[in-house]
Amino acid sequence: MAETQFDLIVLGGGTGGYVAAIRAAQLGLKTALVDKAKVGGTCLHQGCIPTKALLNTAEVLHTFKHAGDYGLVAQEVALDYPKAVARKNKVVDQLYRGVQFLLKKNKVSVFEGYGRLKGAQHVEVSAQDGSTTLLEAKDILIATGSVPRQLPNVPFDGQRVLSSDDVLSRADIPSSVVILGGGAIGVEFASMYNDFGSQVTIVEMLPHILPQDDEEVAEQLTKLLTRRGIKIYTSASFDPSSLKIDDNKIHADVVKADQSRVPVEGDVLLVAIGRKAVTENLGLEEVGVEIQRGFIVVDDHYRTNVPHVYAIGDVIGGYLLAHVAAHEGMIAVETIAGKNPELLNPHRIPRVTYSRPEVASVGLSEKEAKAQGYDVKVGIFPFRANGKSLILGEADGMVKLVADKKTDALLGAHIVGPHASDLINEMALAKFLEATAWEVAESVHAHPTVSEVLHEAALAVDGMAIHI
């Protein structure tokens, strides 16, 4: 008989849940992890990892097409999509086995099945075979994540109207695709499909794509994507009532700001308008866990209103990001274990879009900073003035640092360009350590490196950049 008494039950084994479970075990808590599907969750199976594996293939393909630029010759460079998918699956698999190994190594008891709260200290697990197990614990952590949001009245059909999940399980590349939503997910698929040769159209309601990012950076990316032939409509809405699906294509109208209508069409429609927290059918209402606007409500230690019940990750809203889920999980568990963890400050959380080139931010955009009453100074540095980026043959883009004129405090960092995903972590550390812009400038950056752009942009904040 399997053990059913625990210190902690984690419901949902995505990034947030499995990291929390491992940390709990490390802290000496007897821990159970319940998942109805594969541990690793969205991020590992339908999110971060599979998308980036395919995006990497897209990037390498792009490099190959420019072989001559590097002094290389090659005949017949081409994509073998089934092989790219197989490669993606291999990476996912390797990491999946890794997570399974880590859970075992840390002695986390993993229960496969659908979990439902039965009171504040019990979870009932229903396995595929119909059997149920009642688990009991001092505390419960909900980490059930999120799923793709549908367009009202236009359900996903897996054929023409697709979610990101659908797209990732397709065996081929559509020759044309209309993407609803110019957020990170939409933009990543747009960049990938464009590199794979599809005709791509993005429709975004707000005035610029990547609406959470700094305007100038988003505009820069818009220019780069447009130059590659991606058609981008912003301040534009998709009229669901105009959607027609025939044997080969979807057709619909996009309504622009001036109310004019433009017809768009594609082999498929990818709906990437957001995610919906998984809160239904979990027994939350019965236990009385408060939910607002679809997300579980928690305090800064991830306690819900019900004693012993905590929640983290996509299911509580905020930034729907894997590293956020993981950190929230660690903080929640450390709180449960009676530690005094450092709390999460949203201004210190890096966000990345893995388009080509990558886009990344931390902290306030220039506009946000001004709206908050800061008198700002801005330092901008273009990648084309950076030696290593020229060497890489990836010199599009720029860094923009936003600082407080009064205190020199680094308020925000915004990057569109090569290696942005790594560079932003340095800026997140700067924010975490409460650095000023001049400290970033005075910290020695090795030459030649891509991240010298940070040093130069920090100098530029005070008009002292050397290389522009």
Binding site: T407, A409, F432, L433, T436, W438, E439, E442, D462
Partner: protein, 64 residues
């Protein structure tokens, strides 16, 4: 403009400095930083703790 830099660091501490100060009941704002342009370092906090320890102590009982 790095002239007003030490001014700019007023009130800006790394979490480690903050934590060390809190644990030792020291207000970091009262400390002159020895780091880059006056940044308060962990060592500055430790030095302040040592100084406090040296200073003649008033026993709590006398106060209470």
């Amino acid at each position: 403009n790095t002239e007003g830099a030490s001014e700019s660091l007023r009130g800006r501490y790394s979490p480690a400095v903050r934590r060390l100060a809190m644990e030792n009941h020291i207000n970091p704002d009262t400390i002159t930083g020895s780091g880059a342009k006056g940044r308060v370092t962990r060592q500055d906090i430790l030095n302040a703790v040592a100084k406090q320890a040296e200073a003649p102590k008033v026993t709590p009982s006398e106060h209470e």
